[in-house]
């Protein structure tokens, strides 16, 4: 079966694709399309657990020694290291294979959803009958420039492209394919991050009763719904720039029986539609690294404005790069920035979260930072965890704070 647990030979297998919950708007996969994803998930697992560790070996045994011999010193930053390691044959093979699996995952998933795009759009429309008020799209909405500038993580057309009115193809591709890149470590609804944060907040702040919650850059709501579920009395606003994501996300929420979330098309840089202090909790999940160098500051300013005094803001990201982090680790974590089309990833992780929080009106005394692991319903009890794969493992850094009353 495969369940992320190490089996008798000590090798951990990803779960099979059929473990994903097939909600009402989930794309249909043929037997062979499922098998393709099962293979790709396994290929990724093998690459990350067997092949990738060798990159560090090659680095330590030959890349760094050769550089030292030539320059009489070691690397002074991760960019210098990238230059040198790019000439190493073992690194080249690993990198080429990793790039190849990312592209195959995109191609395979894209072909699946394109062939049924019409039917998916219809199903979304049918599911939303009687619930139209939970979805608000803006005719003429202008997608932020930086989103149009790149296809993040090599998804052609990114989050915003629609191939016809009502289209949800790219969202359906994202929903059904994240399983492959994450190796099933995010759970049957790909919502391990949201589950983790909801659990953490409830455990640590049992008296916190937010009336209104805002999830910025919600995508198709993978990590919004667990929060809405954990706080059923709250009114949850999920905003995103991508119409296909919002449409699909709204229908998916209804299909999963969650009715306290509304999905609104909005640019997080300008949330003037919301009055000051409107939300008790403002959340972002794996969002900041897909914004832009100017936008991120505008967004934090807006977060500070819409957050109520005494309110909470939390941001789930990968760990920031700090002076204690080795250049090798920084380089490996930075890999996606260059080679998986996540170009803002590196710059974003160079920023200091305390500074960002200050921009949102959270004083340093109120700043907090914790590590949170995905809550995964596919994990077995006593499951041995899979080794860290630089930016792909289901362990995140959460930073944020309480706004003074």
């Amino acid at each position: 079966m495969g369940d992320n647990r190490q089996n008798s030979i000590g090798y951990s297998l990803p779960p099979v694709w059929t473990k994903l919950k097939q909600h009402a708007v989930f794309p249909h996969f043929t037997h062979d399309e499922r098998a393709r994803y099962n293979f790709l998930a396994n290929l990724n697992r093998y690459l990350s657990t067997v092949i990738a560790p060798g990159v560090q070996v090659a680095y330590e045994r030959r890349v760094e020694p050769a550089f030292k011999a030539e320059h009489g010193r070691t690397f002074q930053n991760r960019h210098e290291l990238r230059e040198a390691i790019s000439r190493d044959a073992y690194y080249q093979m690993w990198a080429a294979l990793r790039r190849c699996t990312m592209e195959m995952r995109q191609q395979n998933g894209r072909a699946v959803v394109l062939r049924q795009a019409e039917e998916l759009a219809q199903r979304v429309q049918d599911t939303l009958k009687g619930h139209e008020d939970i979805l608000r799209l803006r005719p003429g909405f202008e997608v932020p420039r930086y989103l149009r500038h790149v296809d993040n993580h090599l998804m052609p057309g990114s989050y915003h492209t629609q191939y016809f009115e009502g289209d949800v193809a790219n969202a359906a591709n994202y929903d059904s394919g994240l399983f492959v890149t994450s190796g099933g470590m995010l759970g049957s609804l790909t919502d391990g991050g949201g589950r983790a944060i909801a659990k953490w907040v409830r455990e640590n702040y049992p008296d916190f009763k937010p009336k209104r919650i805002l999830d910025i850059g919600c995508g198709l709501g993978h990590n919004t719904l667990p929060i809405a579920e954990a706080f059923p009395d709250a009114e949850v606003w999920a905003i995103d720039a991508g119409a296909p994501m919002l449409r699909y996300g709204a229908a998916r929420a209804i299909a999963l029986g969650i009715t306290n979330v509304r999905f609104v098309q909005m640019d997080a840089e300008d949330m003037s539609e919301f009055p000051d202090g409107y939300f008790d909790w403002v959340q972002t999940t794996m969002f900041l690294h897909e914004t832009g160098g100017k936008a991120i500051h505008k967004i934090f300013k807006e977060i500070g404005r819409v957050l109520a005094p005494g309110g909470l803001t939390l941001h789930i990201e990968q760990p920031q790069y700090t002076p204690e982090m080795s250049y090798f680790e920084q380089f490996m974590r930075d890999w996606d920035a260059y080679y998986n089309a996540e170009p803002y990833w590196g710059h974003m992780h160079d920023l200091q979260p305390e500074d960002l929080m200050e921009e949102a009106g959270i004083p340093r005394a109120n700043f907090m930072q914790v590590g949170v692991r995905a809550v995964n319903d596919l994990d077995q009890p006593n499951g041995t965890q899979v080794r860290e794969d630089y930016g792909r493992s289901p362990i995140w850094n959460v930073f944020g704070g309480w706004k003074p009353k």
């Binding site: 098998a35 293979f39 080249q92 990198a95 294979l97 394109l114 795009a117 019409e118 790149v150 090599l154």
Partner: protein
């Protein structure tokens, strides 16, 4: 609206594609090989499904497949299939051997063209 999944499915993402090998052509070949490897896994999984369904319906047991020993005639047919398959896969190598072994049949086409022009 119907979309063309055959062509659009392979759309490229924005930004130049990085190549990691010194020779991008070698990396392209590797990408094709990995795609074929995927399809082999897909066929393997499909056959596995068929075997398990046949077993569930009591038509055959997987143990029968594992314990299968071909008759001499069947073995000959199967080995022939493998031999032909190997030959198809290694065609390019075999033809390189022909070129080395028979240089008289390995002249450049423009030379042959000039020669034929005189015939």
């Amino acid at each position: 609206m119907k979309l063309n999944d055959i062509v659009m499915g392979s759309d490229k993402a924005k930004g130049a594609r990085p190549y990691f090998f010194d020779d991008p052509m070698a990396e392209r070949v590797m990408n094709i090989a990995m795609a074929i490897a995927t399809e082999v896994a897909v066929i393997r999984e499909r056959i596995d499904t068929i075997e398990r369904l046949l077993e569930a319906k009591g038509i055959l047991a997987q143990a029968e497949i594992e314990g299968f020993v071909p008759t001499d005639e069947q073995a000959e047919e199967r080995q022939l299939w493998h031999a032909r398959y190997a030959a198809r896969i290694l065609r390019i190598v075999k033809q390189e051997l022909d070129a080395v072994a028979n240089p008289e049949d390995n002249k450049p086409m423009h030379q042959i063209a000039d020669e034929i022009n005189e015939m």
